[in-house]
Symmetry: C2
Subunit: 149 residues, 2 copies
DNA sequence: TAGTCTATATATAAGTG
DNA sequence: TCACTTATATATAGACT
């Protein structure tokens, strides 16, 4: 690492410091907090999708951002998962193994609980332009993975 | 590294292959599937707790395992988050920094939806030993037979 | 507020007990 | 099923677009 003619490598300068270690405690800087939330939410949802695909598990995630926006992830959908709970966890063994692409509009109102939740979600969607509305999980399974079949 | 006598180290054999790359598709081998589910569920919950602490976000996760067991994570609790939805996601103050062990019996019934969910959860709890009443870091995981009660 | 890039922090697949 | 180990696959902090 000597006699480097390339002016850019004189001291073997690194472009970035790379990922830094952080403490798991409330982030005070608001801008950082927003960025971190956004990135980690994406990561969390990705993890959720992976576990659902890898293990054929049903999963639902509801999260309120620091800006009070509400994001949700559901596979096959939040409503369906709640329904599973209400019917005793899918009764029988097969349910969990069948991945339902979630193409239903969700207006089926399995129960009052589900119906109420939908109403809330709709209103939330309107007032805070929830981003989960048009995320990949609304698409057929083929699209979201790195691979398929 | 010239221990040629040991047939196993002839070519400087590594102890393990380390983490292997896997495809994000249904794991067919049941034993692997369960191990993977267990590990990833732990990782997912840890991520959820991190985002809740780092960003002061409220979060709820419901997941049904391949064995049809139901696990949940909530910060400060699943019910509280549902309540936030129903009230339009207000508040959002410092509550996130306080880890509430969720020891209430949940009979408060904010709304019909919540009440129904609780009823379901209770029944589910009985038939599949749900672990949601405790945070994963408080107990040695749900334990197959080690779990109390 | 979401992508990109880099370097590094973490998560985790396999294997073992 | 849980705990550890090891090597590697991924996630992501910080800076910038």
């Amino acid at each position: 690492m000597e006699n480097i003619n390339n002016k850019e490598l004189t001291i073997c300068k690194k472009k970035t410091m790379g990922r830094r270690k952080i403490e798991i405690k409330k982030i005070e800087k608001k801008s950082s907090l927003q960025v971190t939330f956004s990135k980690r939410r994406t990561g969390l949802f990705r993890k959720a999708s992976e576990i659902s695909v890898l293990c054929g598990a049903e999963i639902a995630i509801l999260v309120q951002s620091p800006a009070n926006k509400i994001y949700s992830y559901g596979h096959p959908s939040v409503e369906t998962l709640l329904h599973r709970y209400q019917t005793g966890g899918g009764g029988g063994g097969g349910a969990a193994l069948n991945i339902i692409p979630y193409m239903e509009d969700g207006r089926d109102k399995y129960d009052e609980a589900v119906r109420k939740l939908e109403i809330v979600k709709r209103s939330v969607k309107q007032e805070s332009s929830i981003s989960s509305t048009r995320f990949w999980w609304d698409e057929p399974m083929e699209g979201h993975g790195t691979l398929r079949t």
